[in-house]
Every structure is written in C-alpha cells, then in structure tokens.
Symmetry: C2
Amino acid sequence: MHQNDCRASVARDMTTQTQLAAPTLETIREAHRRIAPRIHRTPVVTCTSLDEIAGARIYFKCENLQKTGSFKIRGASNAVFSLSDEEAKPGVAAPSSGNHAAALSLAARWRGIPAYIVMPSNSSEAKKRAVRAYGGEITECEPTIAAREATVAEIINRTGAQLVHPYNDARVIAGQGTAAAELLDEVPDLDVIFAPVSGGGLLSGTAIAAKGLRPQIRVCAGEPQNADDAYRSLASGAIEPASARETMADGLRATLCPLTFSILRTHVDGISLVTEDEIVATMMLLWERAKLVVEASGAVAATPLLTNKFNAKGKKVGVILSGGNLDLHKLPF
Amino acid sequence: MHQNDCRASVARDMTTQTQLAAPTLETIREAHRRIAPRIHRTPVVTCTSLDEIAGARIYFKCENLQKTGSFKIRGASNAVFSLSDEEAKPGVAAPSSGNHAAALSLAARWRGIPAYIVMPSNSSEAKKRAVRAYGGEITECEPTIAAREATVAEIINRTGAQLVHPYNDARVIAGQGTAAAELLDEVPDLDVIFAPVSGGGLLSGTAIAAKGLRPQIRVCAGEPQNADDAYRSLASGAIEPASARETMADGLRATLCPLTFSILRTHVDGISLVTEDEIVATMMLLWERAKLVVEASGAVAATPLLTNKFNAKGKKVGVILSGGNLDLHKLPF
C-alpha cells in the first residue's frame, strides 16, 4: 500500500492555517524547549571505518536511539504539547501504520489524553502491538486511502479529537527539525546534512533548522529508487504520485504534500536515489561497523555517502539515522 | 580453546612489579587523562521498555560504540602510551585472538610502533582480518597454551617488544576502569554497577573506579554458566580452572589471574551466572529495544537484570555493554 496521506481531504479540512505555515528556526527552538524534557537528547556517533569508506567525517545523529525507536516522537510530542488543555482533552487522531502511530500514542499518554490511530487492516501484528503498548487505540479500516480518510473523519467528528498528521503539520515539522538543531549545536561546522525523505516532514524540519543555523550548509536527502516521488517532484516542479514499485524502506512510501514540497523546493539542495541492494549494504555497514541497529528507512540517508554516490570527500557531513524499528526475525541479510 | 593467559610463564616473567600493583582511583584518573583524547567518550543510553522489564533504571555505558568495537582500546592504549619512547620503540606484543588483539594493534599504530599479535592457527579469518586492518602483525601458533607462550616469548626475545597482557597488567586494568569512571561522572548516584567477567580486567577496573568514586555502590558481574570459573573462584577462595563447557560468549573464556582475583575478592559484591538461552534473549532485547548491536559477551552483564535473576527493583543500575563485534551472518537467533 502506498501512503499519500497528504491528499486526504480529511487532512485538508482539519488542518488550520497555523499548522500549514512553514516553521522557522524560532519555532523549532520553541519546539525544542517544549519537548526536550520528555525526549532523549540522542548521541552523535562517529565511526572511523565508515569515514574511510566515505572519505568524509560523518556525524551520525542516532534517532534510532530515540524514544519509540524513531525521530517521530519529536514531532508528535511537539504537536500534542502545543495544544491547549481544552483542545487536548478530546484526544488526538492520525492515520499511520508506522513510527508516527507509536510516537503519537506515547505523546498522548504523556499528556493523559486518548490517541486514536487508524491503521489499515493488513498492518502487521507487530506494528499493532507497538501502538497498543504505548496506549494507542487502534481503529482498523480497509487498506484504501478512501477508507482511511473516512475512518479518521468519523473519529474526529465523533470524539472531537485533533488531527496530528504525520507531516502535513507545521508543529510536527518543527518537532522533527529539533534533531538537526541538536546535531548542529554539537557540530556547528557541518558542510552537508543528510536526512531520508518520505512525506518530507523530517527533511523539511532538518532543512529549516540547518539553513537557519548555518546558511552555507548543503541539505541533501537519500530516497529509495523504488519510492522516488520526491526526486521526481523536485525535478518536475509538481508533486508527483507514488511509484508503483516496492521498497524494503517501508517508512518511506508516503509522498510530499504542498507544505513539505514548498519547503523542500526552497531549502533542499539535492536528492540521491539508492537501490534496494545499496540500502541492505548500508544497513549491514551501520550494524557491523557502527554497532547501531538501524531500520532500512533509517539507513537510506547514509547510503549515498557509503556507496560514494554522493562525493563528500574531505567534508564534514551530518546524517540523521531516523529509526531502528524492525523485526529481527525478518532481516534482509 | 579455553584461554588461561594468566598462568603463562611468559606473562609472569615479563610483567614487572609496577604492572602488578593494583591500580587506584588516581591511576584510573591518570589513565583517563592519557587516553581521553584518543578514544570515544561513549554515550550512556537509557531505554524505558528495558527499565520496565528490570523494574529498575538502567544506564547502559555503550562500549560497543567504542573505537575497535569494545572497551579493550582503553586498557591497550593506556598501556601503550604509558611506555617511554625507548620502551615503546621495539613495539608491543600480546597473545589474543579477540578484541584485545585489535585494540592493541590500533593503539600501537597510534603510537607508531609495531604490534606483534600471537593468534592460534584456528582463529577465524574475520578476527585475523580485524587485527590486520588495524596494522597488527600476526604470528600464528598451534592452538595450545604452551605453543602460545613459547611464541610470545620468542617474539619478545627477538624484538624487545613489551608484553601488554590482556588483563594481568595494572596499566590495562586502569584503562578499563575509565569506562566506569565516565559512567559515574555522568550518573553519580548509581546503586549498583554490572560488568561482565572473564580474565577480570574490566571488572577489576570497574570495581576500583566505582568504589573509589562511590563507596556504597554494589559492584556485580554477569558470567556465563558455561564459563563460571570466576564465580567458582570467589566461592572457593582460589583461582579455579576454566569450565570444560562451551559458551557463545567467546570473549569470556579466560580465567582470573592473581592480580584480578585479589581485586575481585576485595571489591566485587557478587556474580550472577546466566545460561546460553538467557544470553541470546538479552542480546535480542538490547538489539530490538535499545537498538544496540551488542555481542554475546557484551550482553552478559545485562542478563541478570533483564531476566530478573538479580533483583534491582527501584534501583539505579549501571551496565557496561562491553563490545559489539560479531558476524552478522552467524547470529544466534
């Protein structure tokens, strides 16, 4: 199933203008003050043998070590704690079968409010278990965009819950940008920063934070060749539909929305496409050399560097390792 | 093959009195000043879901993220950089087929001197590759203690190299203690600290650092049931020989030496034995929940906590995750 949440009319209907104004470095700083007491300040790790492969000095921002196992808790908790008590009381809702679902569930638990998660009926039991473990209330729907929209709309109408979209939301984007802000606070003289791109929330936040803190930095993304819609969108100048191909990077199947597309057009310097084999090779390098469990989607930002598709010779490069959630019994190697 | 380096007459003959006086908190601090510019200050990671399993607050000191993939670079580099230029010039030598071999090779490369590593001829190609990658010069010998001793002695006689024993050396023990010192500097109010035990170098350094910085702390170890010689030694009051059983924790097969035995008797509060199944279960928890690649030997210190064999309810517990070197194609799960 390819996600394309952004085109959901639910998202458009429920999203206010404030949530759709692009965040700024200042809103990212505000987000950081809001969420810092609740999240991990994740370590920045370096690894000489990977540096040798890339010919660069790489600083890995370990969001795989973040609470819930991915960066998603940054955006989810910023959105949840941005709500007034009155707004928050009925709870929050989102369509998501992945890391955002788990993160929103935990953020809602912290706030003491319900989280209504709409998941397609074909989601894995492991993903459902993770959401339930964090206290999320799952509503299953047919695995179509129409069914998901209708289900989210029905929940919001019935409960008064606030939509917290996985990326079409400035509060979420500002939260995701705090990872890059922390990285640049620690390593201020980066030449380049890499993030993965899917719906564009993490990459948008990364770009705004990085260019705000260091205007001369290059902001780049890794994207699976089999989910190359962001690459095509930046090339064509219009939001392109999802690819029909499958990728093991199952967190990177969403497509851009107008908000993230406009931020990416302004701030992102380039996207490198990577093959499935290259993603597996990168995962193995990160596991074996850097000793970090990184999921396929999380490895994609490092792939252009470790395959030398992106020439980073002699540069200082930041890489957001976005997540580490996977099934150890279904490893791709 | 069971390692029992300590009984090697080579080690006894070549080890000076200074190297056999137990280190102190002050020598650990000196070691830290000496090696800190060269090694990683490894992150301390917490993980809520593992805390829930243990009923405790666990602080993982991530020596799997250390240079060379284990804590061994701490002791090896302290020994190598303790040498005068004259002493250092002919190089260093050690019998080791594991993490100490790689670490000593890298420390010697940093110092610009040769490292002579004596490895049994049945060592895996992967281990030999790692040593060569760090610049170590391998001499193979028959996989017997006698052959290893003779080979090390021959090299030392021929080259004038200094022996840097993996644990029967106060400089090495002081270096290993710097991991616990860093952990306690960061989390000063730990109730308990766990390390794995093999030859006892890491546990000795951990105990001296921890009790020096916080006298009321409990110092405990995890040890494989199938390599339970340290457990038996503390119980019987004499250094016991290696078990005949096999363990997947291949870094924990050495036995205590008089130096480490006397430190452990004075400072260690208890050793918990763990089964092979429990080690695998702990590895999987650390990989899946904490997203850390930890080798079997490195997981052993966490096993008593995550199996509830050690009751840490309500306590603040430090755990040294000692290493992360393994073959991803030979996972035990």
